[in-house]
């Protein structure tokens, strides 16, 4: 299954509707982005039960915090992922506490702090999602540049495209992706 959404204009419209208190907008966001949120939670936490709890919490929190959605920050996907990241961190902390308490009871030993989320599932999967919805040729240019690690000259030749066009796609594409990650950071650190 792939997550696709419509152009940015429609996403911004959806964000505006949610901010205005339209429950149907929340339902539409759930239809579009619950697989993204769920997959991130599932990879980060490992169990379906926890992942589904996170999905529930994210969309409930999205509704409650709809005033914090900034339609000007692009697709609401990054906003939802930011909320998800926060919730996932909460579950991890909770798990660590439970684990530590059990350990303390058993051995009175202090265990190490929870492992930081070094797998970056939230960011990585959001970027996969963004590349999927970005469309070609920009997405292909970015994949060739960063996943296949090809130079812009090579890409231009392979795609039979002027070098300036390739450069422009890399610039705009990377800036757009960077902005999405900034949004995740902004929301998850609140």
């Amino acid at each position: 299954m792939h997550v696709h959404d419509d152009p940015d204009v429609e996403s911004a419209e959806l964000a505006a509707r949610l901010s205005g208190g339209d429950r149907e907008a929340l339902a539409e966001m759930y239809r579009r982005w619950s697989p993204l949120v769920h997959t991130i939670a599932l990879r980060s936490l490992g169990t379906r039960e926890d992942a589904e709890d996170v999905v529930q919490q994210v969309f409930v929190a999205a509704w409650r915090g709809r005033e914090t959605l900034r339609p000007d920050r692009g697709s609401p996907a990054a906003w939802l992922v930011g909320i998800a990241k926060h919730r996932i961190a909460d579950v991890r902390t909770q798990r660590y506490r439970t684990h530590r308490n059990l350990q303390a009871l058993a051995t009175e030993a202090v265990t190490e702090a929870p492992a930081p989320d070094d797998s970056d599932w939230a960011e990585r999967l959001l970027l996969v999602h963004e590349l999927e919805r970005m469309g070609d040729p920009r997405a292909t240019v970015l994949r060739m540049a960063f996943i296949e690690d090809r130079t812009q000259d090579e890409i231009a030749r392979a795609l039979d495209m002027p070098l300036g066009t390739v450069k422009s796609h890399v610039r705009r594409g990377l800036i757009e992706l960077r902005d999405r990650l900034k949004e995740v950071e902004r929301v998850s650190s609140e």
Partner: protein, 309 residues
Amino acid sequence: MSHPSDDELVDLAVGEADDPERAAHVAGCDTCSAAVEQLRRTAQLVSGTRTYAAWQAPADDVWARVTAELDAELDAETDAESDTRTDTRTDTRTDTRTDTRTDTRTDTRTEIGAAADAKTRADAEADADAGGGTDAHTPRVADAPSVVSPVTAPAPATVTRLDRRTRRRAAGWAAGLVAASLVVGLLVGRAIWSPDTDGQVAQVALSTLDTRQRGGEATLVRAADGLDLNVATARPLDAGDGYLEVWLINADGKRMVSIGVLQPGESGTFPVTQALIEQGYVIVDISKEQFDDKPAHSGDSLLRGRLPA
């Protein structure tokens, strides 16, 4: 020199820049080097992604959980109550968006109770679906009188679909016994006809089957979207370790529908339809049920009465 543009910073980040002066500026500028670092990290994260992520949608009931939680919150605001159940995993079997009455009932349960109840009901429904009502279940009607009306052949019980929230239950009664208890119902149901007072359509006293002692009453009233059956008991009925269930039994003695669960000591309001009444489901019955995964009427009727036509 001024700060490089975003485009120029990208070129630096991805190693496609060819202006040493800009590179020198960035190296000495915290803002710009932070920006370049951010772009590099973005590129790095892209490089670590596989082209396709195997997206996995959450289970179907998660959206219902979201709406249930939000609706519970909305109800709490409406009732001006303090919101103490924000993180409660709400009974997912109840679609609370369209049924505020059910909401209220769900919300007042404890989490464990709700879960157990959901399970019971899930099992009950599964049984009803699988069994199709052919499961012969002998009712334990206390002191059933020897009056037996002529029912010639046992007919398979028919389940009428009321709507989603009424947990219909298949009832396969031994036909003779149904008829017997039905006669009791007819005998004890002392009808009081008071048309069109406060939307009241019909009222009947509910009495015990054995001693014909009056123990409550059922009133059919016109509601905004159909009919409501209000059921009240004079004294709290003893549900033992089970629960009380309200049924509408058809006058033909062969069919019945469950219309809901009655809390001991409380009155209950159960939405019914005009069509149901017109089809002859006019005998109100309160039974004592066990949490036994058996969807059929237990046969243990506590009170009964027939609504006047």
